[in-house]
């Protein structure tokens, strides 16, 4: 079968045309935002042992290499094997639940030099599995069985991750599911039902799943002043940091809230508060504008997809970024509860960075292969 042979070789090699179609602007934005992240991480942790900013640079370099390596594999092949990836991740997560003594924190696997958070990589698995599921779904409106199937895939990983417990990561699976359902043609009525259901689940979760400290965190979103040393303390300190930054900010490495450690999780979940304090409203606008450029470019890339599954992949990756950016930023100014969702690309952390780079890699992958090879 010479024809088959030739297509498969074309798929597996990078020819000139493919390289020409790589969206370099997207990569520049990606690296730019990540480097801004290094700057903020440096400012908020240079006085700590551990040289987080150097590690982050190393993570960025590594992730960039992985991103390009990943491009060599046609996303069709990735979709083909997506169920194996999904299965593997699910097994690892189950294993982590049972052999928790291998893990450092509940959601981390400790290797010799690095810790890996499999729950982060689960996002990629979910994106691929859902894209694969909906790749042949051409009806205008989604069927009940498709809803059940897709929800089932997400629910399994959601439960496994939530049990770790890593609520933040688990919650960030939900927009992927909801996004794919909307794309597949979820009716408005159904959307309403889903919202009602999530409220019910929320109430049940409040009573049966949430730990006391998490409940406290959620209540203090509403009353941050009440308990200045508890979770409300974190929100209050974060708001003070952002608010005291004013229009121009206090200057690089000059944020008192951050430098004097009033701000919690300065280089991870609350990294954006450091931006607000040290670079002011100007800095906030600039960085949110970068994100906006980046995310709209991701969304627009969907139009460059050659097939349905490509649209799904691009859409879900875009949504993954949009959701996490919006949620994290809303969290640090006290609009949303603190559930531990990092700011993509900027917050310190290798696993989350790698996942995000892989996501962008998938988008690039779809985009560069927009021409059908017949």
């Amino acid at each position: 079968m010479p024809k088959n042979y030739s297509t498969s070789t074309r798929k597996n090699m990078i020819d000139r045309r493919l390289i020409e179609n790589i969206d370099w602007f997207l990569i520049v934005l990606l690296v730019l935002i990540s480097l801004v992240g290094v700057l903020v991480i440096y400012s908020s942790s240079h006085y700590l042992p551990g040289k987080y900013y150097l590690k982050q640079i190393f993570f960025i370099g590594g992730s960039l290499v992985v991103l390009f390596l990943f491009l060599t594999v046609d996303y069709e092949i990735l979709l083909t094997y997506s169920s194996y990836l999904y299965g593997f991740i699910a097994l690892v997560l189950v294993g982590m639940l049972f052999f928790s003594h291998f893990t450092a924190k509940e959601s981390w696997i400790k290797l010799k030099y690095f810790q890996i958070q499999p729950s982060e990589l689960a996002k990629i698995a979910i994106i691929l599995v859902l894209a694969r599921l909906f790749s042949e779904y051409k009806r205008n409106f989604i069927s009940r069985s498709a809803i059940l199937a897709s929800s089932g895939f997400v629910a399994l990983l959601f439960v496994l991750v939530a049990l770790q417990p890593d609520l933040g990561t688990a919650v960030s699976f939900l927009p992927l599911l909801l996004g794919s359902l909307i794309l597949a043609g979820l009716k408005r009525k159904a959307l309403v039902w889903i919202l009602i259901l999530s409220v019910v689940l929320g109430v049940a979760g409040w009573n049966f799943y949430l730990k006391d400290y998490q409940k406290k965190r959620l209540t203090t979103v509403v009353f941050p002043g009440k308990d200045p040393r508890g979770a409300g303390y974190q929100i209050l300190q974060s708001k003070i940091a952002i608010g005291s930054g004013g229009f121009f900010g206090k200057g690089f490495k000059k944020g008192t809230q951050s430098q004097l450690k009033f701000l919690p999780a300065r280089h991870t979940d609350f990294v954006f508060s450091v931006v607000g304090e040290e670079f002011g409203f100007l800095g906030v606008v600039a960085i949110l504008f970068l994100y906006y450029l980046f995310i709209t470019r991701l969304f627009r890339s969907a139009a460059k997809s050659r097939d349905r599954s490509g649209v799904y992949i691009i859409f879900m990756v875009s949504l993954m970024f949009a959701f996490q950016v919006l949620f994290n930023v809303a969290m640090v100014i006290g609009l949303f509860p603190i559930v531990g969702i990092p700011l993509p690309l900027v917050s310190y952390g290798g696993s989350s960075l790698l996942t995000n780079f892989l996501g962008v890699s998938l988008v690039l992958n779809v985009k560069m292969r927009r021409f059908v090879n017949i």
Binding site: E76, L79, T80, Y81, S83, R132, S135, E136, K138, G179, I182, L183, A184, G185, P228, R229, Q237, K239, I240, A241, I242, G243, S244, G246, F247, T256, Q257, L260, K261, F262, G276, F281, V284, V285, L288, Y291, Y292, T296, F299, R300, A302, A303, S305, R306, D307, R308, S309, V311, Y312, F315, S318, L319, A322, L326, V329, A330, I333, L335, V372, I374
Partner: protein, 601 residues
Amino acid sequence: MKIEKNRFYEDLSLILRRTQQVSIAAGILFLLLLFFFWKIQILDFKKYWALSEANRIRENVISAPRGLITDRNDVILADNAASFKASIIRENCQNYVRSLKEVSRLLEIEPSDLERRIAKYESFPLFKPIVVKDNLELREVSRIESRRLEFPELVVETDPKRFYPFGSLAAHVIGYMQELSPEEMKSDLYKGRNLGDMVGQTGVEKEYESFLVGVNGKSTKVVDSLGRTREEVGKVEPAPGQNIRLTLDFDLQEKATQMLEGREGAIIVLDPRNGEVLALASYPTYDPNKFISRFTPEEWMDLINRSDHPLENRAIRGLYAPGSVFKLTIALGALRAGVITEQTTFFCGGTARFYGRLFSCWLVGGHGVLNLTEALRRSCNIYFYNAGRRMGVDRIAESAKILGFGKETGIDLPGEKEGLVPTEEWSRSVRKTHWYAGETISVSVGQGPLVVTPIQVAAHTALLANRGKKIAPRLLKSPPSAKNQDEMFSLPDTSGEIKAEFFEKVIKGMWKCVNEGGTGHAAMVDGFDVCGKTGSTQVISKERAEKLGKEIKTHSWFTGFAPRDHPRVVVTVLVEYGGLGGATAAPLAKELFDIYKKKYD
């Protein structure tokens, strides 16, 4: 598993449209978030800026040392010593309830005491330290410091503490210190002071609080979230309080205190020329060092509850019948009123009947016929019953008031009492009964409703010594205070009220009383011409004492000055239940005259 796929472009317009819609929705949310940042960073900037400054800037008070108190010869009576106090900063508690429990264990305080303590200062801002234990021992300081990291909420600060090197000596003059209470905070006196500051509660410590208190310094520091200091950005050194020198003479004060030991009473030594108090002792006394603390130790409760009231300054607050000492007032008053002359004689037969009631002299059998000086020398009651009867109570009161009874002497100590000089008007309006003529007879020998304080007796003795020039006793030698200058030296001039010759006549009687075998002969000092008068006050009436069937000793008085011409020293002694004035009080006065003579002549 291979995906079957259509090799031609599909129609993706529907899902692309949906993608676009979600993308626009995300864009709107971005704008919405920017609006919130606008609100926090631009509109509410000032509020959050202030909060962030309040977070990082801490102002610590550096306590100013209090001014020293010395005697007239610079013997230090109140000093400062270094001490340590431990305070809790509620803001730094990781877990408030657990923190309280652990702090109470570390400092060995009852958890309930600790809670009460913190509740008292609830109104403080969270970052402000609340003192939970003071007078820490070095062992405790090192124990706290070694566990600093475990207890970010605890701070140990130095705290200059009052120290009285001679303990109870002159405790009633100097006073003691206690923590400023929330009620006291409201008064203007403590404007600018902070809740929890130590302030003088009585005595000179209170009277001259404004001199003694320094101006606290402060250090402004940048701290991190655990309250650890990063850098000091400003410092104002404390200005120590002003030292004050008292008029007290250490030797006389010490002697006076020693002499009272084991008794209850008061001794005052002063200089009649200017009112300077050389000694002022009250007994029983207390050691103010024992309770210079922000807390209420058992010693304090004991002192408050003791029946002999050691905290009371008897010299200025004790109210006693003056007894025979009052005969000086009657003598002067009667001469002034013209109801007697020096030559007027009365017959003392041991008893005499006035207004249908039998009054007796202390000398059973009587003194016989005597004139004024003899009556003063031998302290005859009958003579003064007659003199008093001729005057009537209102003229007695007039004389007593000229001599300074019935109102404060103006000594620079807080809490002085004014005593009581009865008049008919007083009886009607206050006591709501008629004045009985028989009472006038009692008042004539210093009994009845009449009460005076020992300091009044001393001041009136100074007036006698000065032949009418009134002085106000005072304790402050330097610095000169406005109060001293204006109030105390602009006393109404009473020297014209009573003719100088009358004073000479009374003083002659006083001189005889001591130097010619009178009741006060025990106070005689060779070559010092002591003039004095004894008094023995009945605490309860003779009839009641007989009914009770036991002997109740009288209060024992002696007051006098020396020398007769150009007097330089007044000594007033009161011993409660001391028996006869001549037997108990006079010998004590003699010793003080002795010491004064040796030291100053």
